[in-house]
Symmetry: C2
Subunit: 385 residues, 2 copies
C-alpha cells in the first residue's frame, strides 16, 4: 500500500458530506426531511445561457482544446461586466483570467503564492475551503476573528499588532459568507492599505455581490489596489450557474501571470459552449437582477419568520443567499441543528462549520422555494402551539 | 509586490506556447503556415454527444452543483466501457472517479501521494506535464530512459539497480506518447510486479488506446494490479472531445478515496450536460471506432510520405495520433523543425520537447485533414525537385 501524502492528514470529511449522508438515511427511512442548509441556487440561469450553448453546438470546430486564458470574447465580456457593475477597469488580455469556478482559483492562488510554512489570514467565520486549501499546500492558516459587534469586519488595528512576518495572503469575502455583511468603501480601502503596508496579498472572494444587494462593490475599485489585491468572482450565484463551473480572477498582470503558470499545468481551457453560455449570462440586462432578487426577497421574508419562531435575531440588511441568525442566549448551534433535524425533519446549517465564531448562529438558505420554506414554518408553528 | 511561490521557479514557458506565438506572428505577416504539430483532434464527437447535451438543457434542475464523484450513471457507463473494451471490472462506486480531463488527474494524484522531496519516475521521452506537475508539488522528477531499441519500454532491470528508496510514483503511458509504442501484457505485468516490489504507485496514462490500435489494453487487466496501479483515461482522443474536459481515474477504493480528498478541495463536479454527453460517447458502438480509425489510416499514409521525403524512418505499427519519425543521421530535431517552418511554412514538433531522448526525432500530428497533409507533401516535393 502506497501511503497518501502528509498534506492530506489535515483533510477531514466535510461536515456537510457527513450530515447529508445522515439526511439521505433519514429520507430512505421515510422521514420527510426538508433541506434548507445548502447554497446551490435552485433557480434557472437566464434563458440566453442554454440558448448560447445550443447555438455553439451547431458551430464547427468547437470540440477541441480551448485556450488556458479563455476566449477573448469571454474576457471582454468580463471586462465590460466589471466596468458596468463595479466601475472597475480591467485589462481583458492581462488582468482577467477565466476559471472553472472560483473554487479552483483558491487552489491556483495558493499554489502560486504560498511556500510551505507561509501563513495565511483566514476569516472566522468563513468559507471552510480557504483553510483546507491552505493546509493542502502545507501553509499555515491563521484565523482572524470576525464579530457581529464590528459588523463582521476584521479588526485590522489589532491584526497589525500581531506577528505578520510570515503572512503572505489574506482571504476576505465581502459581501461576507455566511453572515451576509456588506462591504464599505472604507473597509476595502483599509484592506488595501493593510496589504500594502505588510506586503500581504488581499484576495476578495466576491460571488454574492448581486444577491439582495443594491450596491455591488469590488475591492479593485480602490485606486492602486491591483498591486496588492486580487478578486475572485463567479457566475454560480449571480446567474444560477453553479454547475456550469465558471469563475474568474482579476488583478495585476504580474499576479494573473503567476496564477496562469499554475493553471496551465493543472487543467485546460473551458469547453467552448460553456464559455458562450457565460458570455450570454454576463450580457444580461438589469431586469435579470431585479427579477432574481424579487424572488429572494419573497423567500427572505419567510426565512425571517422561521428565524423569529426559533427566537433568533438577524440583520435585515444582509446580502447573499443566506439568513445568518443568532440563536437565543445559551443555545448551541449544532444542538439546534440536531433538534430541528430530529424533531421537525428540517436540516439547516449550524454556524460552527464556518469556524468557532459561528457558535450560537445558524444559517438558513434562500435556495429553497418559498412554498418549502412555508412548509418549514408550518411544521415549527404547529408543533410550537 | 508579493513574490510568487518557490514552486514556480521551475515552470518555464511551454515550448508550444512560445513557438505558436511565433507561428501566429508569421501568419500575421502573411506566411501560409500549416500547423501539423499539435494533438487536438479536429474531427467531431459522435452526434449523440451534442444531442445528449441539448436534451440535458431541456431538463429541470440541471444547473446546480454536481457531486464530486459525478453522476452514478456516468460511473456506471465508465465501468461498462472498461468491461467491454479492456475486460477490466471496476467498482463504479468506489473504484472510478470522473475528472475534468485526465490532465487534472496528474495534479490530483501528485497532490494525493507526494511529499516535498519524494521522487517520481518519469519517461524520457514523454508528456512534459508529468515533470512540471512533479516540480509544482516540490517532488523530484527522476527521468528514466526509453529507447527505440527496447521498443520504448522502460528497462526495469536497470531501474531496479538504482536507488528507489525515495520513489513514490512512476508515470507510464502506453500506448506511448509521443512514440506510439503499444503495450504488451508482459510489460504491464512487469510494471505491476516492479511497483509491488518497490512500493511504487504505477500510473498508466491511457488516452490513446483506441487510436490506430486494434487491441486496447489497460494496466488494470493485470490480476492484483489495483493495489499498486492507477489508470488515467480520457474522452479527448477516443471521442474527439478534448474541449469537453472529461477524463477518469480508476484504481483501488483506497487510492481513489485519497484522490477524491484532494479533488473535493480543489473543484466541484462536472456540469450535468457534459456528463450526459460523456455517457452518450461511452455508449458508442463499434462503428464509431471503425470510422474514426479509417480516417486516421488515410491520414497516416500521407504523413508517412512526408516522413519519407524528409528521409525519416518510423514504425508502421504505432498507435496514437502521431507519427514519430527518426531523422536522418546527424540531423537535429529543432534544427529540422525550424528549417521546415522557415523554408516551407510548415510547423511540426521537434522530439526534444518530450525530453532529451527525443533528440533526432520529429512528431507529425494526424489531427490534420488529409488534404492539408497533402498540401504539406506538395510543398516539400515541389521544392525538393
Amino acid at each position: 500500500m502506497i501511503p497518501k501524502a502528509d498534506r492530506l492528514q489535515h483533510v477531514k470529511e466535510y461536515y456537510f458530506s457527513r450530515k447529508l449522508r445522515e439526511v439521505r438515511q433519514l429520507k430512505a427511512a421515510g422521514k420527510p426531511v426538508i433541506n434548507i442548509g445548502i447554497g446551490s441556487p435552485d433557480l434557472d440561469p437566464p434563458l440566453s445561457v442554454s440558448r448560447a450553448m445550443k447555438n455553439a453546438l451547431e458551430q464547427n470546430h468547437i470540440h477541441g482544446y480551448q485556450s488556458y486564458q479563455g476566449l477573448p470574447e469571454l474576457r471582454n465580456a468580463i471586462a465590460a461586466f466589471y466596468l458596468q457593475h463595479y466601475y472597475v477597469k480591467a485589462d481583458p488580455d492581462k488582468g482577467i483570467l477565466p476559471l472553472m469556478g472560483s473554487k479552483e482559483g483558491i487552489m491556483h492562488i495558493s499554489m502560486a503564492f504560498l511556500n510551505a510554512g507561509d501563513k495565511v489570514l483566514i476569516p472566522n467565520p468563513g468559507y471552510p475551503t480557504y483553510a483546507s486549501v491552505t493546509n493542502l499546500v502545507q501553509a499555515k492558516p491563521v484565523m482572524y476573528d470576525l464579530v457581529e459587534d464590528n459588523n463582521w469586519f476584521p479588526d485590522l488595528v489589532a491584526l497589525a499588532k500581531t506577528d505578520l512576518s510570515k503572512v503572505k495572503l489574506m482571504w476576505v469575502s465581502y459581501p461576507h459568507m455566511p453572515t451576509g455583511s456588506k462591504p464599505t468603501k472604507e473597509l476595502f480601502e483599509q484592506l488595501v492599505a493593510f496589504g500594502r503596508k505588510h506586503q500581504i496579498l488581499i484576495i476578495n472572494d466576491n460571488p454574492y455581490s448581486f444577491i439582495l444587494n443594491d450596491t455591488p462593490m469590488s475591492i479593485l475599485s480602490v485606486p492602486g489596489s491591483k498591486d496588492v489585491a486580487l478578486e475572485l468572482n463567479s457566475l454560480s450565484k449571480t446567474f444560477n450557474m453553479a454547475g456550469w463551473r465558471v469563475g474568474m480572477v482579476l488583478g495585476s498582470a504580474q499576479n494573473i501571470q503567476s496564477i496562469l503558470e499554475v493553471k496551465s499545468n493543472m487543467d485546460s481551457g473551458m469547453f467552448y459552449g460553456i464559455q458562450q453560455g457565460a458570455i450570454a449570462a454576463l450580457n444580461s440586462d438589469e431586469n435579470w437582477f431585479k427579477n432574481l432578487n424579487s424572488t429572494y426577497i419573497d423567500r427572505k421574508k419567510v426565512a425571517w419568520q422561521i428565524a423569529d419562531i426559533l427566537g433568533c435575531t438577524y440583520d435585515k440588511n444582509s446580502a447573499g443567499l443566506f439568513i445568518w441568525a443568532k440563536l437565543p442566549e445559551g443555545k448551541k448551534a449544532e444542538q439546534m441543528a440536531d433538534e430541528l433535524l430530529y424533531k421537525y425533519d428540517v436540516f439547516l446549517t449550524p454556524g460552527t462549520i464556518f469556524g468557532s465564531n459561528g457558535e450560537g448562529y445558524i444559517r438558513i438558505s434562500l435556495c429553497v422555494k418559498e412554498s418549502i420554506l412555508s412548509e418549514v414554518l408550518q411544521r415549527l408553528l404547529l408543533t410550537n402551539q
